[in-house]
Symmetry: C2
């Protein structure tokens, strides 16, 4: 039996903290028994929840702290106030100290990224971290990154995103050589976008055995499942994700309103409720909960702040998989083997520009 | 009775040309009798269609040309081959020469923009043109721009987009002072994005009477109808639009599949078909067909290449409204009155950076 996966949980993170985190941990534990938890936060609140989940209590150690990062604190403020003391910092610090294999928090994204970056530092060869998540498509799931960790980025940055995203797809989807596409817009020969074209050339030239670069993908290609991994810088990645989420919410609102308008449509809804249930599951945001911070010396997973226990359990699942199937080793192997090509390509680019 | 609106149609544009353009013109004509058409393209193909639509024939003049721009030609290639000869160029040229008030084409977007820009030139005070379209939201429609005319752009560019987009919203939605939001991502204090923050400061400082600046809007705010006008540079605008379109298509596919799985769900679908019809109309891409090129000395409207006659008619509607309610005058008035503020703000920015 392999070593247990040690998971540090920020029990204060998210809109309601321990009352989602502990029940979520319990759901996760039913799926993955080979686990231990470190729980950071207010002892009283955590113990109150653990009373209802003895199985979680049996494999957990609680580390008390009074300090919790607020959902609307600025990253710099959270760092000043919560460094070395907050439940968020302590969960990340457990990864840094080798006491945990992964940290999971439903707290404030900006603060979590700032603390993770400050404490864990970026991997050798990586300048800037990224957030990656799975996106449900017409032919299964894809990994999309960067969802907003850093805005902009040159060809070198986009190439490291491709390497890290494909390592995540290998872990999550058990693929030998995931396909990778660069997000781009349809109109050719327009100003700007040089870094994307350069990244395409670089990825073609490198011929990495760990990924198959398939070229450019447009915005509507993500949902079609045009590639296992979709790479873009953080601004457009975040906009794409939220525009898609907004559209899904809008359509379900329209549908709900339309179906409740007449008796016939209400009856129709009742008869077809199996179909609507299937659709709802397909679109369930919980199913793609769990943003993975990539490019750091350690694994940190961000859950939606407003998720329920089921959704939080999915985020913990993602963290577990990343540890169990050696995400960091996979990323590092590629960077070590091909980092030289990347570094020299980067130098060439700088010389040209 | 006001002057007739003179509309130049590229009868060769789109995936099937005249067989969509002429029937589309006929649908449009039923809604707007105060119109004249100039039809550019292959005489034989156009006349064959006009035979079935005598009302269109009665108010049209056909100008023959053999040359049509291909849907996959590069803009530079289209310009070389089709300048002064293609149906697309001639329709734009009619606007340039004052023979038409607006040109509508379902042809190749890149070629249409290149030709429109080359022939019509940008308005005084505008460096780079934009493409704007309406986006169906939970509280009516919004104008979103730029959808891909130009990538990137400084605070000055974003501010001109706000001015042009709000002029379009005033025309289309009959609003005195449309609300305007700048598309941005949620995480604060991250690298990049300075131009968006500067644009926000500029828009606040200018206190334009023609628009009400409401601040930043995230990707999921578009569908919520957070503002009448959503402003962003062309790369993220294009990605947002296509990600949303892709999601809508994905959901209807899922729904169709789910509803045809069992007899109960099929019967349910039949009973609720009124509701589905309402949803379909709500999401009908035809309803938001018609991308308006903004920032040029003349109005050009781009229809989807793969649209049907109904959709093409919507694009002509949009062109008609822009002329009837003086889009260009509205844009120019704001630029003339506030161009000085913009120009000096731009100079200040350059001095600082």
């Amino acid at each position: 039996m392999p070593k247990k996966v040690r998971i540090a949980l920020d029990a204060m993170g998210g809109d309601i903290g321990a009352s989602v985190v502990i029940p979520g941990a319990a759901i996760f534990l039913n799926r993955h028994a080979d686990t231990e938890f470190l729980l950071y936060g207010d002892n009283a609140l955590i113990e109150a929840q653990l009373a209802a989940y003895p199985a979680v209590r049996a494999i957990s150690r609680v580390i008390h702290t009074d300090v919790a990062v607020g959902m609307h604190e600025k990253p710099s403020q959270a760092l000043r106030r919560g460094r070395k003391t907050s439940s968020m910092w302590l969960a990340i610090d457990a990864v840094k100290k080798g006491e945990a294999d992964v940290a999971v928090s439903a707290g404030n994204t900006g603060a979590l990224m700032a603390m993770a970056r400050f404490n864990l530092r970026t991997l050798p060869g990586i300048d800037r971290p990224a957030i990656a998540a799975t996106w449900p498509t017409m032919r299964g799931d894809s990994v999309v990154l960067d969802l907003g960790a850093t805005i902009g980025g040159d060809a070198h940055h986009l190439t490291t995103l491709a390497i890290m995203g494909s390592a995540m797809a290998r872990v999550l989807f058990d693929l030998e050589r995931p396909t990778v596409g660069l997000l781009n817009i349809g109109v050719e020969e327009i100003k700007g976008g040089e870094e994307i074209r350069e990244a395409a050339e670089l990825l073609r030239a490198m011929e990495l055995p760990q990924l198959e670069f398939i070229g450019f993908v447009e915005g509507d290609g993500i949902g079609k499942g045009a590639a296992d991994v979709i790479v873009t810088e953080g601004f457009s990645g975040n906009i794409a994700l939220k525009a898609a989420e907004g559209t899904a919410r809008q359509i379900s609102e329209f549908l709900r309103a339309a179906l409740s308008r007449t008796w016939a449509s209400k009856l129709g809804y009742l008869l077809a409720r199996g179909a609507f249930k299937a659709l709802k599951e397909k679109l369930d945001p919980n199913r793609s909960n769990g943003g993975v911070f990539l490019g750091l010396n350690g694994i940190v997973v961000k859950s939606h702040g407003g998720t329920d226990a089921e959704g939080f359990a999915y985020a913990v699942d993602v963290g577990y998989e990343m540890v169990r199937y050696d995400l960091l080793t996979k990323i590092n192997q590629t960077l070590n083997r091909h980092g030289h090509t990347l570094a020299s390509a980067s130098a060439v680019q700088e010389a040209i520009s």
